[in-house]
């Protein structure tokens, strides 16, 4: 179970490959791996977005993500979980979040990864400020999944 807040750009695919190689390995009890990667769009609410600042609450953001990871591991009997979340200044197209879970069967992997993303979006202390042509604005609502 790993949670990482990154203030610089990360490549979710190489990070995932390394994590799989070093932490999960070729564990025969893992039959299913579910991966979600969220990236920054260049549009929102009808406007072109040229950049974004992602603010977090150092300490609370990590502990909240660890709390939901522990809950997911117990509830779905996961073999492992991984959350990487970007903070700081972002450009369109850059990955924001990586969620991966490993379990014996696909049902647990699909359900746990979806649940982790929804918990993260609705309660983890993270705030987006979008840069538009005419200034910047705080995002006040999440788009529905």
């Amino acid at each position: 179970m790993t949670v990482l807040i990154s203030d610089h750009a990360f490549d979710p695919w190489s990070y995932l490959a390394e994590y799989q190689r070093e932490r999960v390995g070729q564990a025969a009890q893992t039959g299913a791996t579910a991966v979600f990667v969220g990236s920054m769009r260049d549009f929102n609410a009808g406007d072109t977005v040229s950049g974004m600042f992602l603010e977090h609450y150092p300490g609370m953001t990590e502990s909240y993500l660890e709390k939901i990871s522990q809950e997911a591991v117990q509830r779905w009997d996961l073999n492992d979980s991984l959350i990487v979340h970007r903070v700081g200044e972002l450009c369109p197209g850059e990955p924001i979040v990586l969620v991966a879970v490993w379990s014996a069967h696909r049902k647990a992997a699909f359900e746990a990864s979806r649940w982790l993303m929804e918990e993260l979006k609705s309660k983890a202390p993270l705030w987006k400020k979008e840069q538009l042509a005419e200034g910047s604005r705080w995002v006040e609502h999440n788009t529905p999944g």
Binding site: R41, H56, M60, I96, V97, K121, S122, K123, P125, W127
Partner: protein, 79 residues
Amino acid sequence: MRVQVRFFAALRERAGIPALEVSVPEGATVAQVWSLAAKKIPIEDNILAAINMQYAGFDSLVHEGDEVAFFPPVTGGAQ
């Protein structure tokens, strides 16, 4: 007793300050900390609070040395 107050995101900008210390009486609640710390900012239903990095209600009691944070609804994850 003294508590540390922190604001985040849009609330931090509206408060004009990221953190401050306030003195509150024994038995004070998060709501009392808010009214002392936020002063001119009108309270809105959607403002969230945390004590020592755990979500807390506005009626929760605070204690000496607590860190009380206020922030707007969260917007993490992919959009």
